[in-house]
């Protein structure tokens, strides 16, 4: 029977490819504490859902004895599958095959699955574990990277793009993850940098380890290149799967709703916030007090923690939270936190996720380092992102809403749909201390006891302006609400905003302060 022989031949060929870079290379991969590319895909996707394509693709380079090499799948696995039933496209670089190096056909496989995900309007997950460009393939490798970057940009805001760094990702290769929506890193495994430690040492004389230069912690805490940090690959895969449940397949859809549930957070919402506006608390407690199941999936937890961003659900529907965090740096806005908030606002807007802003900030972080780092252009990103966002936007002012920070945090003036304030809200051009020093400068200076006079004047200003009622009298806020009603009022606001439709003037695109 010849058909049977053909089938056996096919199976043999497939088995050969499944060996990847061979036993030795796989052992090495395991010794580094890493899973293989295929294992990673199988862990992320629903059981039995993975279908692989381009298994028999081979490299085309013939120079430098490359013609004598057999590179299974050319060092990358591509395919489709499902996560909790939702379709996704996926690729995984196979470090066991020529170090996962990127040559022409390797790149073509990646761009093929990228094209597919964009065409089919489903999320793309890319697992990066590669030594970089395949030097033997010369400019073809560079062409490959360029083709990937172009597609990342084309697909940006159309389909969710997720990058998982599970090994080295160096040089030009880092720019694909940087162009995608969410980057996942794992402690001791992920390494990202443009120029590696050895080059830095030779050229600049600076000695630094790979981990200190571009390890997972560095990107999660310092650079802001990573959005999710995990201690192990398996934890990372759970994070990816969880994220997929919060976001839609593409920009024409809404995230799938789940069964509504009540908050389970133990503490009463009205007991979380100290009345003294200068005392800290954890804004995440407020989020947990209002979301379904008190669930909050935080994004960029360790980077610029003075702003908190992430996903939660309200009556089963995904919402994005953008909040000041009084617990860290008093919740000020600065360069990093502005970048963090602005990008997340744009993400939510692109993917039809309503934004809830919880506001409690004293203003911008003072300092030469901030001014010289460009806090003006970074801070402007928040204004731009909010102003441009057409999804439902709701603000709750918990306590402080001072000056430029008040305007930036989704104020009425940037066309927030609803602005609510707790009775503890202080909406003013600055805090009473600073304002009294300016407004009553003369009285304070001329008083017999300036300090006593200052206290009197601070109190006078506080009584008059440090409340939500001046803003309410102008209609800048819609309602002063009792804290325990926050969830109920937010649910109502979301409900009546569900069909929001606005459009601005026609343009090719704006020029955001990147």
């Amino acid at each position: 029977m010849s058909l049977k022989r053909n089938i056996l031949d096919l199976r043999k060929r497939k088995d050969e490819v499944l060996k990847g870079g061979g036993e030795k290379a796989i052992e090495k991969q395991m010794a580094m504490g890493k899973l293989t590319a295929r294992e990673r895909i199988l862990y992320i996707l629903d059981e039995g859902s993975f279908h692989e394509y381009d298994m028999f693709v081979e490299h085309v380079a013939r120079d430098f004895d490359m013609d004598k090499m057999k590179l299974h799948g050319d060092g990358v696995i591509i395919g489709t599958g499902t996560i909790y039933g939702s379709p996704v496209c996926i690729f995984a670089q196979d470090f066991t095959v020529a170090g996962g190096s990127l040559g022409l056909m390797h790149a073509r496989k990646i761009t093929k699955i990228m094209d597919h995900s964009l065409k089919m309007r489903v999320p793309l997950i890319g697992i990066n574990d590669s030594g970089g460009a395949r030097i033997q393939e010369g400019v073809n490798s560079l062409a490959g990277y360029g083709e990937i970057f172009f597609r990342n940009t084309l697909a940006s805001g159309v389909i969710p793009q997720i990058s998982v760094i599970l090994g080295p990702c160096a040089g030009g290769a880092v720019y694909s993850p940087a162009l995608t929506d969410f980057v996942f890193v794992v402690n001791n495994i992920s390494k990202m940098f443009i120029t590696g430690p050895s080059v830095i040492k030779t050229v600049l004389g600076e000695e630094i380890s790979m981990e200190d230069l571009g390890g997972a912690k560095v990107h999660a805490e310092v650079t802001g290149n990573a959005h999710f940090y995990a201690e192990s690959e398996l934890e990372c895969f759970e994070q990816i799967k969880k994220l997929i449940t919060y976001i839609p397949w593409n920009n024409t859809q809404k995230a799938k709703a789940i069964e509504p549930a009540k908050p389970t957070f133990k503490k009463k919402i009205e007991n979380i916030v100290p009345v003294d506006a200068k005392m800290p608390y954890d804004i995440r407690d407020i989020i947990k007090a209002i979301t379904d199941n008190s669930d909050f999936f935080e994004v960029m937890e360790y980077f610029a923690p003075n702003v908190v961003i992430g996903f939660g659900r309200m009556e089963g529907e995904t919402v994005g939270f953008v909040c000041n965090q009084p617990k860290v740096l008093a919740g000020v806005l600065d360069c990093d936190s502005s970048d963090k908030a602005a990008r997340f606002i744009r993400y939510c807007d692109a993917f039809n996720i309503p934004i809830i802003t919880l506001e409690d900030l004293p203003g911008y972080l003072p300092g030469v380092d901030q001014e010289h780092a460009g806090v003006i252009r970074h801070g402007a990103k928040i204004l731009y992102a909010y102003s441009e966002a057409t999804v439902a936007r709701i603000t709750v002012i918990i306590r402080k809403a001072y000056g430029g920070g008040y305007i930036a945090m989704n104020s009425r003036h940037l066309r927030a749909d609803f602005v609510f304030a707790w009775p503890t809200a202080e909406i003013a051009v600055m805090g009473p201390e600073g304002a009294a020093n300016i407004v009553f400068r003369k009285e304070i200076a001329e008083a017999e006891d300036p300090d006593a006079m200052r206290q009197v004047k601070i109190q006078e200003y506080k009584d008059k302006f440090a409340n939500p009622y001046v803003a309410a009298s102008k209609g800048y806020i819609d309602e002063v609400i009792e804290p325990q009603d926050t969830r109920r009022i937010l649910l109502h606001a979301l409900k009546v905003s569900a069909n929001k439709s606005i459009s601005g003037p026609k343009k090719k695109h704006g020029i955001p302060p990147f």
């Binding site: 310092v222 003075n306 009084p326 008093a330 919740g331 000020v332 990093d336 003072p366 001072y402």
Partner: protein, 106 residues
């Protein structure tokens, strides 16, 4: 009791109790640069030094060559003045920000 753990941030005269981030702790305090001190702007190797202490020089006069990233960078006198001290010699490998030459204060 718990209050003592807090750090403070001052915004518009108000003192807020809060926590610092590692990045905030490590921020570098700004200092006005001393124009009489010439520091290396890049790490590299001193190839040659053309001047000695006491030399009176005009703006633009060559002082030394600092090789970095395979480029010979000519460091010039930033304004008219007298060399006070020279802290480097040919062959020195220096990191970024190293004091190379001091010009006498006017």
């Amino acid at each position: 009791m718990e209050e003592e753990k807090f750090e403070t941030i001052i915004v518009h005269s108000a003192v807020y109790k809060t926590e610092y981030t590692e990045k905030y702790r490590r921020r570098i305090k700004w200092e006005k640069p001393d124009e009489n001190q010439l520091h290396s702007f890049i790490p590299g190797t001193i190839i040659d030094v053309f001047v000695k202490p006491g030399d009176k020089l005009k703006e633009g006069d060559p002082l030394l060559i600092l090789e970095a990233m395979k480029m010979h960078n000519l460091v010039q006198m930033p304004f008219d003045g007298k060399i006070a001290t020279i802290k480097v010699k040919a062959g020195d490998k220096i990191p970024k920000g190293t004091l190379m030459i001091e010009i006498a204060a006017k």
